[in-house]
Symmetry: C2
Subunit: 385 residues, 2 copies
């Protein structure tokens, strides 16, 4: 996936060297669209490439449900690149760091609240008014609130206009919301594997992700910060996220019917597992260590409430978009129904806004928007010019 090593060596001397420094941005008092006030909102951010003097070469990358601001690069000079879109972000790549200033920030209620590289504000944060974690007293926040935090971050750097905004999945929702809420600030829109609204299928899918956490007795209505967190429920939630974000083609091409433990036959032992179950359990357990269960519930809700423009009409919310739009999606997406993506394209296009709709190929379903993005490199490069 990482094709840039040769390019790194042959790039201009001032090229971005792939090392990123995580920084934080603080808002003393943030007011949500619902009118709730959150003191001391702090989010992490990182950037790749340099902001030009005109401050008009910025591309904002908005992250997906389980993602972070780490879209590209490595955290120390002798480390390897670990950004999720290293395939397209870097010197000479589709999102060329020799040309663009690429910036990404952690959202509010970011899932990975316990990741030392993530800074976010949510239920796990201390409410300065009480000195205790917010828990379920944290206000509901929406995709639009995520956008408003990003707007303030960009304004703090003197950036009034974006060359492009691009994001996958929940990142697509943020990108769409940016272009709908601030049509005069977004020059190009690139939603990947996401549509203009959380349709009923997505409402229900997200609901099923929340369920195992609420069933876990340790969840305790969200009050677990001074006790045992609901790790079992969180793991099962994350297992479902992994499964739903993939596709049967991937499962059946990657795994077989091997047992997890060759000495424990699932046909003889009701507690034995198959290898694919163990792999999904192991992935979930590793993610759960960095994640917060309440944050997952708030992310579920932020995604559920999404409709472009957050008004009464999806048509109006999407008609507000003026930026030329490139939509990338998978016909095998089990999270964002392809029908909804195509409908979103039609509604953006309805008043004459230019829309290009392209499919991503692969066996990962929804995840092809993250893991197989390199196939869109030429399309992205051309669209950004």
């Amino acid at each position: 996936m990482i094709a840039g090593l040769g390019l790194l060596i042959s790039s201009p001397l001032w090229a971005w060297d792939g090392v990123v420094e995580k920084q934080t941005f603080e808002i003393d008092s943030f007011t949500t669209q619902n009118g709730e006030t959150i003191p001391n909102v702090t989010v992490g951010w990182e950037s790749y490439g340099e902001l030009n003097e005109a401050r008009d070469n910025a591309i904002l990358i908005t992250h997906f449900f389980s993602g972070t601001s780490h879209a590209a690069g490595r955290y120390n000079a002798d480390g390897k690149p670990t950004g999720y879109w290293d395939a397209i972000i870097g010197p000479g790549k589709a999102l060329d760091t020799d040309e663009y200033y690429i910036i990404s920030s952690d959202t509010l209620v970011n899932l990975n609240a316990n990741d030392p590289n993530v800074t976010t504000t949510g239920p796990a944060s201390i409410n300065p008014d009480t000195g205790e974690p917010w828990g379920m007293d944290f206000p509901v926040v929406t995709i639009r609130d995520f956008v408003e935090v990003q707007r303030e971050l960009l304004e703090s750097q003197g950036i009034e206009s974006l060359h492009a905004v691009m994001g996958a999945s929940m990142g697509a929702l943020q990108a769409i919301e940016w272009a709908s809420a601030y049509p005069d600030r977004v020059e190009r829109l690139i939603p990947v594997i996401g549509g203009g609204v959380a349709d009923p299928w997505l409402l229900a899918t997200l609901s099923s992700w929340a369920a195992p956490i609420r069933v876990d007795a340790n969840w305790n209505e969200g009050n677990y910060y001074d006790g045992e967190p609901p790790t079992d429920g969180l793991k099962e939630a994350l297992k479902l996220v992994t499964l739903n974000a993939n596709h049967w083609q991937w499962a059946n091409e990657t795994f077989n019917r091997d047992w997890a433990d060759e000495e424990r036959d699932p046909a003889q032992d009701i507690s034995a597992r198959y290898a694919i179950e163990q792999t999904l359990d192991d992935i979930a357990a590793a993610r759960a260590e960095l994640s917060d269960a309440n944050h997952l519930l708030y992310l579920v809700r932020a995604n559920q409430t999404f409709m472009a423009g957050h008004g009464d009409s999806l048509e109006e919310g999407l008609a507000a978009i003026e930026a030329p739009t490139l939509m990338l999606y998978s016909e095998n997406d089990l999270v964002f129904a392809p029908q909804g993506v195509r409908r979103t394209a039609e509604l953006i296009e309805a008043d004459g806004t230019e829309v290009t709709l392209e499919t991503l190929e692969g066996n990962r379903g929804h995840l092809d928007g993250v893991l197989s993005i390199d196939q869109a490199s030429d399309t992205l490069r051309a669209f950004l010019q």
Copy 2:
């Protein structure tokens, strides 16, 4: 869906009147394929139409994961038909009760252990050796064990050969196993929305259904029969079953973004729900009242262990099938990947066995095999003759 009222009136005098009587069949001592012994195995069964003197007009219907032996008819003369395949079973229908003796039985570890119309043996049953419910000490049982119980039931009625065996989903697995294990007893095979093996995708999907039960503290390693059962976990498991067995087309054509309670806006209240969530929760709650959580875990395992023939080779298991085969499936099936169904057809056909593969249309995905079966009436009628 029930198209038979006119036909009922115009049928011969001896036609089946649609009233079914649930009966039970007992095996004093049943030995599983694993060599475990289960005393006093009892299962419910019902039949529609009359067994002829030659005892060669029997069609066995094998039920799906959350199903029962109630494939057709009504339990009392003034009730309405409530069988899941009333659309195709009855006088003059595709599975014509004027011609065939149609029989169906509850499986071992049937999900609906608390339904008064269901008789099954599983973890919720009393182990006569201890006088206590089996719980997780119940032996793992497989699809082949289900078939063996059915074989003994049929033999008790002098039925040595089946005109056909037909079932949907888990019922398809039983039907395939029948034709593979007893090729000289099955004249026609009709697997609906199921394939020859639980592929890795299905292994993982089934695993996710089990997860909420295991997370629920009331599950208590399966020991809940003298306390509070894990109802919350069971409900969430059943919600997932409902969701996975459907398709985004159904969700998006049936629901909108309405709130469950018009006074509780999900964007303002983290505990509020959308209408689709409430509907799925209500369906799950109703099902949970009749279901047993441990039985769900054992059904998950029975499905996971399935490979036609239960030997080392899927190819051999399917090659053993000699019966002309009609496979019905949905290209939108999210549980049994259509690729696996087509592969099953190829492997049955490989040694010259006649296979007809037809798709079912609809917006329900997997469930079109149960709810939209009437569209296959003509195909079924012709195939059975």
